[in-house]
């Protein structure tokens, strides 16, 4: 579904990703963990070309993504949920959810709204359809952002630390929605520090450090007997 081939990324002189190779299967739930600054965000942002790799290739469904075709490919195949939600503040929730379906997928207003209400039900926020984003709590905004991603009905959803900006008491409501999603045949790539979520949902976990993929394994391999020294240290710090 997604294939990263020898991705290198520089920001100026900073070598942020070093020969990153990664393949994500259709329907797979892949969780990326690692210390801050290790290149997790940059890796997922390469998957929809929010960052263009300095070298290396990104394939979605076998098609190589380039700066020329990225808009179409992203529209057809990926959605993203951001740490800061990034809902459109000048639009009601319903408009946030129907904008892309109407303008990009050429759905009728009725179709798009039906779809929006369907996903609002899934994230449990139907009653918020007509309010503006900033009237909602962080957790609610993030659930709306997930509904917005679902409205695009793409096969792939990328999550970049979706719960890191949330108050502790609203983290679980967002994780619950994501756990519900994980039961569907959606390909999910999730950067997170929520190890409970990773254990429960991930098919595979990727551990990144210093711009490299250091370890890839199942949750069992990761949490039961981590072999890598740096991974052990990292898990030791993060699991209290």
């Amino acid at each position: 579904m997604i294939r990263l081939e020898k991705i290198n990324k520089f920001f100026g002189d900073l070598h942020v990703l070093q020969d990153v190779d990664l393949e994500v299967a259709e329907g797979e739930k892949l969780v990326i963990i690692g210390p801050s600054g290790s290149g997790k965000s940059t890796t997922v942002r390469c998957m929809n070309f929010l960052e263009e790799p300095t070298s290396g290739k990104v394939f979605i469904n076998g098609e190589e993504m380039t700066s020329k075709n990225k808009t179409r490919m992203v529209r057809e195949s990926t959605s993203m949920v951001f740490q800061q939600f990034n809902l459109y503040p000048h639009m009601t929730i319903l408009k946030n959810l129907t904008l892309a379906p109407i303008k990009l997928y050429h759905k009728s207003k009725e179709e798009a709204e039906a779809l929006a209400y369907h996903y609002l039900d899934i994230v449990g926020l139907r009653e918020k359809a007509h309010v503006y984003p900033t009237t909602l709590s962080g957790g609610q905004q993030q659930r709306i952002a997930i509904a917005r991603a679902l409205c695009a009905q793409t096969k792939i959803i990328l999550f970049d630390e979706p719960t890191s900006a949330l108050d502790p008491e609203t983290i679980q409501e967002v994780l619950d929605v994501m756990i519900k999603l994980a039961k569907e045949n959606i390909t999910m790539v999730v950067v997170t520090h929520e190890m409970g979520f990773a254990k429960e949902v991930a098919d595979r976990i990727v551990f990144m450090d210093n711009g490299k993929i250091v370890e890839v394994g199942t949750p069992n391999e990761f949490f039961k007997n981590p072999s890598n020294e740096r991974l052990k240290q990292f898990l030791g710090k993060i699991i209290r």
């Binding site: 808009t71 529209r75 990034n86 459109y88 503040p89 000048h90 904008l99 900033t134």
Partner: protein, 240 residues
């Protein structure tokens, strides 16, 4: 009574009222066309300045700096006499339209640039991650949010533009100020300085005051609405 504001002088104004009406009409015509041109240039160069494409940003910068750091009167003369000497004189009013359009286009460009620059990076990324291209991103997501930042200073530019039609005087213009001047210095009409400039000033005021009032009113209501529905926009630096 003789004096600056004699009844005689006032009567002269009334008899030659068509001069002032013509001047106002010319100023209005010129301002309207110049305005259209400046909006267009402002949008184009403002978008170029925020495009992230270095060459475009440089072109926009050069235009803005050249125009903002030389006097309007010089630009007017340059355009008028350069055209006249090359045998392509286009007439005083069209010269005014073009010169004022280009001059205020540079200021409008800065207004647009600031308006777009104030929108958080996450908004651009959210739109891109949904598969919007540059135009869709600007049209549906960015500009609707920038508009409330852009409008008040833009209306102030409109007021400045209307007042700056008076610079046409330097090339013997047909605007309100130029006609007022020829009126008070004319052989048959001369003399009535006091009333003539008073009337002329009043006409400017009647046009400009409602616009400035509108600008501040807009600014205030938009600020109020912002308090209700919007997040605080980040500064340009924070956008990174």
């Amino acid at each position: 009574m003789g004096g600056l504001f004699s009844a005689d002088a006032w009567e002269k104004i009334w008899v030659f009222r068509d001069t002032f009406i013509l001047g106002l009409a010319n100023t209005g015509k010129m301002a309207a066309v110049a305005l259209l041109l400046s909006f267009l240039l402002g949008l184009i160069f403002g978008l170029m300045a925020t495009s992230g494409q270095k060459p475009l940003e440089h072109i926009s910068r050069i235009y803005v700096e050249l125009i903002q750091n030389t006097p309007l009167i010089l630009q007017l003369c340059f355009l008028y006499y350069a055209l006249a000497f090359s045998g392509n004189s286009i007439g005083i009013l069209p010269t005014g339209m073009i010169a004022l359009g280009i001059y205020h286009g540079a200021y409008m460009s800065e207004v647009v640039r600031a308006g777009i620059g104030a929108i958080p990076k996450g908004q651009f990324e959210a739109a891109a991650s949904q598969g919007f291209g540059y135009i869709g991103e600007m049209y549906y997501v960015i500009l609707p949010q920038s508009i409330k930042i852009i409008l008040p200073p833009m209306v102030n530019q409109v007021v400045n533009l209307i007042k700056n039609t008076s610079c046409l005087y330097i090339i013997g213009g047909a605007d309100l100020i130029s006609l007022t001047y020829s009126f008070v210095t004319g052989a048959s009409t001369g003399g009535a300085y006091g009333p003539a400039y008073l009337v002329s000033g009043l006409l400017f005021f009647v046009v400009c005051y409602p616009l400035s009032t509108l600008a501040s009113y807009w600014e205030n209501t938009l600020k109020l609405r912002e308090q209700k529905t919007q997040v605080v926009p980040l500064t340009i630096e924070e956008r990174g």
